[in-house]
């Protein structure tokens, strides 16, 4: 097992290097003036500054491996550079934005996984019944609805009309209390968690209130996959002979499902769930943008659009790392759940 893990971890630098290589090559397609334009969002910045001088200064006319080498050297010394889209040091930007994404991911993971599994299981057990039909239609509409449509629609109805769930992380006065009064201690940056640690339920309630709409939106569009996979996996499991045996033994249906079927059906589901969560962690770009939640997804999207290289490269490192670890974790879980699986 250990040898397996180590071998898989060796893949990490290869994957990361591959990603970075691709980005540097794409950046390399630009000529020095175009690269300079990346630094210059607004023409008036060029008053009294010679563009050629700037190109020399930033080494924009040097070959790609020079710039890659320079970046790598900085990273080894812990310097990830300055993100111009975040107007912060890259590591500082991660510290600020990552907790937001983690919070949303964790809260969304619960309904997505539990809801998806539960609905999928229900669909399978009551196959072709009204519930099954409803669940499948429900899932498909969610899947085919683009996130931004669902999100904006939700905002217009539940905030615009009903005033229930506002965008943003906190209400203005709660935000001012949390961040400027000095009476609230931010331990992790995950507001709901910090509210509990501060034993402040007023902040917790406000934070939760602002999370409901993004979480529901995310869940609605993500349920389909888990639902379908659970359903088909469950259906297959229910056809197995040992299930027939269990029923023949006289066990109540509830026990048959819970004790025997579900566990085995969950094996492929674990993979999907793990990857879904990892995908969510990588950034919920649209959700964060629409609901005004300052997370890394939104930051990464801006960085990509404006070719903010230091931010992009750091984000690539992060998400590459995340995906590799997530895959590894899921495979290990596989082996843990299913004794038939051997990791070679």
């Amino acid at each position: 097992m250990i040898a397996y893990i180590v071998r898989r971890l060796l893949l990490l630098p290869i994957v990361l290097f591959g990603l970075l290589f691709i980005v540097f090559q794409m950046y390399n397609l630009l000529d020095p003036f175009q690269k300079l334009a990346v630094f210059v969002p607004d023409v008036s910045r060029l008053k009294n500054v010679d563009p050629h001088l700037l190109i020399k200064e930033y080494g924009l006319d040097k070959p790609w491996w020079y710039q890659f080498g320079r970046w790598l050297n900085n990273v080894i010394h812990g310097e990830f550079g300055w993100s111009k889209t975040a107007n912060r040091d890259v590591l500082d930007a991660f510290k600020r934005f990552l907790p937001q994404t983690v919070e949303l991911t964790l809260w969304a993971a619960i309904p997505i996984i539990l809801g998806g599994i539960w609905l999928g299981q229900l669909s399978a057990v009551k196959q072709n019944s009204a519930i099954d039909q409803f669940a499948r239609v429900f899932a498909v509409t969610g899947w085919s609805l683009p996130t931004f449509v669902a999100g904006i629609l939700g905002l217009f109805i539940f905030y615009g009309l009903l005033h229930w769930f506002p965008p943003g992380r906190l209400s203005t006065n709660v935000g001012l209390y949390v961040f400027t009064s000095g009476k609230f201690h931010l331990y992790t940056g995950i507001i709901t968690l910090d509210a509990i640690l501060n034993w402040n339920w007023w902040v917790f309630a406000d934070a939760l209130r602002h999370l409901i709409l993004p979480v529901v939106t995310l869940s609605y569009v993500s349920w389909a996959l888990l639902l379908r996979v659970t359903r088909s996996s469950m259906l297959e499991t229910l056809r197995q002979e040992y299930i027939m045996t269990a029923r023949a033994k006289g066990l109540p249906e509830r026990v048959v499902i819970k004790r025997h079927a579900r566990r085995n059906a969950l094996i492929p589901v674990a993979t999907i769930a793990g990857l879904t969560i990892a995908g969510l962690m990588g950034g919920l770009v649209i959700t964060e943008t629409i609901f005004d939640l300052p997370g890394i997804g939104r930051w990464a999207a801006n960085a990509a659009r404006q070719f903010d290289m230091p931010a992009l490269l750091a984000y690539l490192l992060f998400s590459g790392f995340l995906i590799v670890i997530a895959n590894l974790t899921v495979d290990i879980l596989y082996a843990v759940i299913d004794p038939r699986v051997r990791l070679e």
Binding site: K47, L162, W164, I290
Partner: protein, 651 residues
């Protein structure tokens, strides 16, 4: 299952009730919330050159003089007191000032008894601690160390000198250096002083630094008692308007030094020059630290997300009416719209194409148009010669294989024809929704004393006349051969796209051999083509740094101005240099307003006769706000809202 469902319903009901119970007539009565786009870059007044940073500095720091404002709030628009006339500048940190006959010496008397947000207090162990001035009781105030957080003439001297020595790349300090030293940058100054070009001033020796400081910087601004005296290196009529900009903000010398900034030593300033190369604002010690005399204190800057201000209770003009200001960065239009609708934002930035969505909203007031002239200009520029080699958008055609001859726009008659083929009324209708007006450049209408209000200087859509000119061009060759012209615009910019389409329609209607292709390109391509002279036509705007005609004359018509280099060598050598350079210099050679006006009139006439650009009509400004907003100041030169007189009420 129903139990779970019921639980969820209950939770929703609770939140619904919470929301409902929060319904008050005026939301957040002590706080003004401004939702806008555009992130602030820095809080350092010497570093900041974007309007978002300017907004922060404008409300936390103060300058010697201040532009008077009109009011455009939910009750109405009153422009009586608003002015861009330097004669009407109001004393702020200065109480009065005089200018010498030759315009080379400015003397300001500094107001007494003004304190900064943070003052230096002597602790028991003798050290000095910087504390919030508002938090001190009258007893504790006795421990304030004189000068530490107290406005003095030395503070003004230090602030200006520090700014000059910082001069970061791409920053605003050229505006202080030009009048006070005669050079546009510290690099240029050092080159003249040492006789050699130095790219990185941090390599200067202490002796070199001392020499430069003593010769150029120190004498430029001196503090004598309660007076500050500026010694200009050249006559510079707009100097006082420059001091009103955010770069003229006054810092507390002792506090700034305590933040780790320049300690005032003559031989040791290069360390603080050009922090971060002008690309990493964090390298300046005043990046996030703010200590001003202004009506608001910076409480928290969550970069790229939100800016929170608390009012300065002991502000020298009396505390502001509003306790808190929150500036939210909200890029998503629907979020801003919903916040405005629900009263959770008081002022929002509305792109003009979304105005129909806010007009008629309950509780929202829209002023559109507001009859205030803009301190900005936009034009379509001609390039001659166009760089044809390696130009992937030039296309094939009858001109040595290229779609156009490189010197197409070298012919003034071709330029004039293009000016006459632009349908200004259509642009006003389609792009400005009818809420615009024609202008001619390069002096904005806002400078009414220098703007020649003569309709003959405006171009009109005249296809007949244009046809005559184009038929004669190049001895008829142009009309015979035709051309394949590609006009680029940057993706997403509807305005530039429509402007291009208008030209295309009218050119192609004239002669079937005139073929125009419109193409969208990414911003980085647009900019890189602009910089390398590859675009025959391009659209650029210019926003005033300081409200004086010179700030527009230089970039638009001086051969050494920003735009000249992009318009090609022909234009530089045959149009800008011979016709305009002298005039631009003359405009700055005297402080006599009437004489200057004459010069700028001449510049406008020549700009018309030589058809240097196609001037795009301007849109009237507008404002959108909740109906309880009061006291919102207006002056086109302000970088953003000035919150001091603002409050929320129904009256």
């Amino acid at each position: 299952m129903w139990k779970k469902f019921g639980f969820v319903l209950a939770v929703i009901a609770v939140f619904g009730l919470m929301a409902w119970s929060q319904e008050k007539p005026i939301k957040n009565p002590d706080t003004i919330i401004y939702a806008t786009i555009g992130p602030a870059e820095t809080c350092d007044p010497a570093y900041a050159y974007d309007t978002a940073s300017g907004e922060i500095i404008f409300n936390t720091y103060e300058t010697l003089v201040f532009w008077p404002y009109g009011v455009a709030d939910a009750k109405g628009v009153d422009l009586t007191n608003m002015s861009l006339d330097p004669a009407k500048l109001q004393p702020l940190l200065a109480t009065e000032w005089t200018v010498s006959e030759d315009g080379l010496t400015y003397t300001f008397t500094i107001r007494e008894g003004i304190r900064f947000h943070y003052v230096g207090v002597k602790k028991a162990d003798g050290s000095i601690e910087w504390v919030d001035y508002d938090s001190l009781s009258p007893e504790e105030e006795k421990n304030i160390v004189p000068g530490y957080g107290e406005l003095t003439a030395e503070d003004v001297e230090y602030s200006i000198e520090r700014a000059m020595l910082q001069d970061r790349d791409g920053g605003p300090i050229w505006m202080l250096l030009e009048p006070l030293t005669g050079y546009s940058s510290m690099r240029d100054l050092v080159k003249a002083a040492l006789g050699k070009k130095v790219d990185d001033l941090k390599t200067l020796t202490p002796e070199e630094q001392a020499m430069i400081y003593k010769k150029y910087i120190d004498p430029a601004v001196e503090a004598e008692g309660n007076k500050v005296i500026f010694h200009l290196a050249q006559t510079y009529p707009p100097f006082i308007t420059i001091l009103a900009g955010s770069w003229g903000s006054v810092l507390d010398k002792e506090w700034t030094i305590a933040q780790g900034d320049w300690d005032g030593k003559a031989d040791d300033w290069a360390k603080w020059w050009n922090p971060g190369g002008g690309e990493v604002p964090e390298k300046s010690p005043l990046f996030k630290a703010v200590n001003g005399t202004g009506p608001f204190k910076l409480k928290r800057w969550d970069i790229g997300v939100e800016i929170d201000f608390d009012r300065f209770e002991k502000y020298w003009r009396g505390p502001a009416k509003i306790k808190h200001v929150v500036i939210k960065k909200l890029d998503e239009w629907s979020d801003r719209l919903l916040l405005l609708k629900n009263g959770e934002a008081d002022i929002v930035y509305v792109p003009s194409q979304y105005l129909p969505q806010v007009e008629g909203l309950e509780g929202v007031v829209v002023h559109d148009p507001i009859d205030v002239p803009q301190v900005a200009l936009r034009a379509m520029f001609f390039t001659a010669p166009v760089v044809l080699e390696g130009n992937e958008f030039i296309g094939e055609g009858p001109w040595d294989g290229y779609g156009i001859p490189a010197d197409l726009f070298a012919d003034v008659n071709v330029r004039k024809a293009f000016c006459m083929l632009f349908d200004y009324d259509a642009f006003i209708e389609q792009v400005l929704m009818g809420k615009g007006y024609k202008i001619h450049g390069p002096i904005p209408k806002a400078f009414d004393w220098a703007y020649k209000d003569d309709p003959s200087l405006d171009w009109n859509y005249d296809p007949q006349k244009a046809k005559e000119l184009l038929m004669k061009a190049r001895n008829g060759e142009l009309w015979e051969k035709g051309f394949n012209l590609t006009i680029l615009y940057n993706q997403g910019n509807a305005e530039r796209q429509i402007a291009a389409e208008i030209l295309k329609t009218n050119l192609e209607a004239l002669n079937p051999k005139f073929r125009v292709k419109i193409q969208a390109v990414p911003w980085k391509t647009y900019l890189s083509y602009l910089l390398s002279g590859k675009m025959p036509l391009f659209i650029i705007g210019w926003l005033a740094d300081y409200p004086d005609p010179n700030n527009f004359a230089v970039p638009f018509v001086a051969s050494y101005g920003t735009f000249a280099a992009w318009q090609g060598e022909y234009m530089v050598e045959n149009v800008f240099k011979p016709y305009f350079d002298d005039l631009v210099k003359q405009g700055m050679a005297t402080t006599d307003k009437a004489k200057r006006a004459e010069v700028y009139y001449k510049i406008q006439e020549l700009a018309h006769d030589l058809a240097i650009d196609i001037w795009l009509p301007q849109r009237y400004p507008y404002r959108v706000m909740r109906d309880w907003v009061r006291g919102w100041p207006i002056n086109p030169i302000y970088p953003g809202p000035y919150f001091y007189p603002m409050y929320k009420a129904y009256d």
